[in-house]
């Protein structure tokens, strides 16, 4: 493998932009994308609308009123945030599950690879096209929400709120990128798009819904609670620590933490709070934008690293594949 890489000539990125353009315009025009975008728009706007109803009845003294649009849950409606953490993976998987195997099944792969480009360009162009589509969808949604907030709440977001909102957008995109990379990996490994879609959805269900429970369970096995702890109904710090580390394997946990850290400026830490961390802090006082950014930085970069690792895995699997269908 390395040997082959070392001795080949020409740029591996030649043609990447062309693939990107085609994928992007294909996605924007595809009926599948239209359905997903409308689904996200309607549920997202529904959730925001409900939270606006709620926010208007509370006396608006919160300096970060605007950000609460994203995080407030009202009545039967989940918060916009939980809608997103559910729908972004769905959209990303919808964009990526047939990207590579689809070319094989249409028998276009060998024709495309017979052009003077490397496989790197094809894979990266496809990933970029999917990511750009996600970005367009999320950006539209974000702007709509700001617009709705302006109209219905009657206040303009502060500069800091816009900045926090923008970081939130980037985190959401990184989260989408992880699931897009998962979907593309499945599309490289499974020849049938249906199998690829089910594998990706399975991974999503496992990591988003089951994994938090399993993390707790595993932590309890490693650090069995003492009789005293059971009696008091508390967990030991080691157990909570391990549970948190395990839970962070799931991109949904990382996404949730990063977004809460950004959109709820009072957040100082995730999980257990030690006395040393809050010494000198005024309870409930918001962090500055920079401090919040520092707080969520590990989660954000974690998401990006996960996307890169998954992409690299699909790349290696794709390089080894036979061209013939």
């Amino acid at each position: 493998m390395a040997q082959r890489m070392a001795r080949r000539s020409g740029s591996p990125w030649k043609g990447c932009g062309i693939v990107f353009e085609k994928e992007f315009s294909d996605h924007l025009r595809s009926p599948r994308m239209l359905v997903l975008e409308w689904l996200i728009l309607l549920t997202g706007i529904g959730a925001v609308f409900m939270s606006i109803q709620g926010l208007r009845t509370t006396t608006a003294q919160d300096p970060f009123l605007f950000l609460r649009l994203f995080t407030d849950a009202r009545e039967s409606m989940p918060s916009f945030l939980s809608v997103l953490s559910f729908l972004i993976p769905l959209m990303a998987i919808g964009l990526g599950f047939d990207s590579i195997n689809g070319e094989f099944n249409r028998r276009t792969m060998s024709r495309v690879l017979a052009q003077p480009i490397y496989r790197d360009a094809l894979l990266l162009g496809k990933f970029g096209g999917g990511l750009a589509t996600l970005a367009v969808g999320l950006m539209t949604l974000w702007l709509l929400i700001i617009g709705l907030g302006l109209l219905r709440l009657g206040v303009a977001p502060s500069g800091e709120e816009v900045a926090r909102g923008f970081v939130f957008l980037c985190v959401a995109l990184a989260y989408g990128g992880v699931w897009l990379a998962v979907a593309m990996l499945c599309s490289v490994l499974c020849r049938s798009p249906a199998t690829a879609a089910f594998s990706a959805l399975g991974a999503w269900l496992l990591l988003s819904l089951l994994w938090p429970m399993m993390a707790r369970f595993l932590a309890e096995i490693v650090y069995p609670p003492t009789d005293m702890a059971i009696l008091l109904g508390v967990q030991s710090p080691q157990q909570i620590g391990l549970q948190q580390i395990l839970a962070r394997i799931s991109p949904s946990t990382l996404f949730g933490e990063a977004v809460i850290g950004m959109l709820q400026p009072a957040t100082r830490t995730f999980g257990v709070v030690f006395a040393s961390q809050v010494r000198g802090a005024v309870a409930g006082a918001p962090l500055s934008f920079g401090q919040s950014l520092l707080l969520v930085w590990p989660q954000f970069t974690g998401l990006i690293a996960a996307a890169i690792i998954l992409f690299a895995a699909s790349y290696m699997a794709f390089q080894r594949q036979e061209v013939r269908a």
Binding site: R4, I18, D26, R111, V112, A114, V323
Partner: protein
């Protein structure tokens, strides 16, 4: 002989325990159609993929249009066009849009691309449906669109894998005719097929594949001379009831004509005459002199199917199926 565009020496490719290609040498010149013929699984597609640098050869040396597909695959792919087996297109795009995509990937300048696409589509007679979605195209139209892609690329060499696969006889004829015009433009063309008779007419030289090796190679006539014992076959029909001599006598008479190397008779009155050169004149004279009525005297192309079968009968002593 003109310039050599494609050359391979000692190509080998193994998939696990099976050896798909087992030491192949081939040379293809500019302005020549070279046929890779043989049954399914003989290693034709694997050979083609190695020539294009789409699969790595385990052993051997390849030079395609002056570049090594293993070291410098992009240069090879710039200079060579490829029509894969059962070629596919993006069904939701028009023919023009499909060509524009691969044309841009091929690095054709934007200002030149549209004119090249129009020219190519006109040449394969798809210009009237150029803006229709490829999803509405028939198999034959798709193959022609594949040829248009080759024309658009203005490649020095073209490699076509089973181009007539799944086509009706009329479409096959049209497609082969178009391939011939590519050759006349000076391209080097390799085409593969498992139906030997279909393509033998347009191949200048053929290589008969069997189990990853080239069994025999040369022009159809050369192979016929080598395997059947004569490069020319005559079909001689006479009237068995009306004045024809006894079967053995006529066979002996035909056999005695100078240049004839063999006479076979499938049924009374019908003879196949194998010869080293065109002996129609001499055969006709002999028959007229002997007073035998001539109902038909025609030169028939030697059949590759027969050459293939006879070659392997000779090698194995058994009949060898040809796909």
């Amino acid at each position: 002989m003109s310039e050599v565009l494609i050359e391979a020496r000692g190509l080998k490719k193994r998939y696990g325990k099976t050896t798909a290609v087992d030491g192949i040498d081939l040379t293809v010149h500019r302005g020549e159609i070279f046929g890779l013929l043989g049954p399914n699984g003989a290693g034709k597609t694997t050979t083609i993929l190695m020539l294009l640098g789409l699969t790595e050869a385990d052993e051997g040396r390849i030079s395609v249009c002056g570049a090594d597909p293993m070291r410098d695959p992009l240069t090879v792919k710039e200079r060579v066009a490829y029509l894969p087996d059962m070629v596919g297109f993006y069904d939701n795009l028009s023919a023009r849009a499909n060509l524009r995509y691969t044309g841009r990937l091929a690095g054709i300048a934007a200002q030149e691309l549209d004119a090249r696409i129009d020219g190519a589509l006109a040449r394969v007679r798809l210009d009237s449906v150029a803006d229709h979605k490829v999803g509405t195209y028939s198999r034959g139209m798709r193959q022609r669109l594949g040829l248009a892609e080759i024309l658009m690329k203005r490649a020095q060499a073209a490699i076509l894998d089973e181009p007539t696969n799944g086509l009706d006889p009329q479409s096959t004829f049209e497609l082969l005719d178009m391939i011939r015009t590519l050759r006349d433009d000076g391209m080097a063309i390799i085409l593969s097929s498992h139906i030997l008779d279909r393509v033998q007419a347009i191949c200048d030289r053929v290589a008969l594949f069997s189990n990853g090796r080239i069994a025999i190679e040369g022009s159809v006539r050369e192979l016929a001379a080598q395997v059947l014992g004569g490069g020319y076959t005559l079909q001689v029909d006479t009237d068995p009831k009306n004045g024809a001599p006894h079967k053995g006598t006529l066979a002996a008479l035909l056999g005695s004509v100078e240049g004839v190397s063999g006479v076979h008779s499938a049924e009374p009155g019908h003879y196949h005459v194998l010869a080293m050169r065109d002996v129609r004149d001499a055969v006709a004279r002999a028959m007229v002199e002997a007073g035998v009525p001539i109902l038909r005297l025609a030169s028939v192309e030697p059949s590759l199917d027969e050459i293939y079968r006879r070659y392997f009968e000779g090698i194995n002593g058994t009949a060898h199926g040809t796909a």
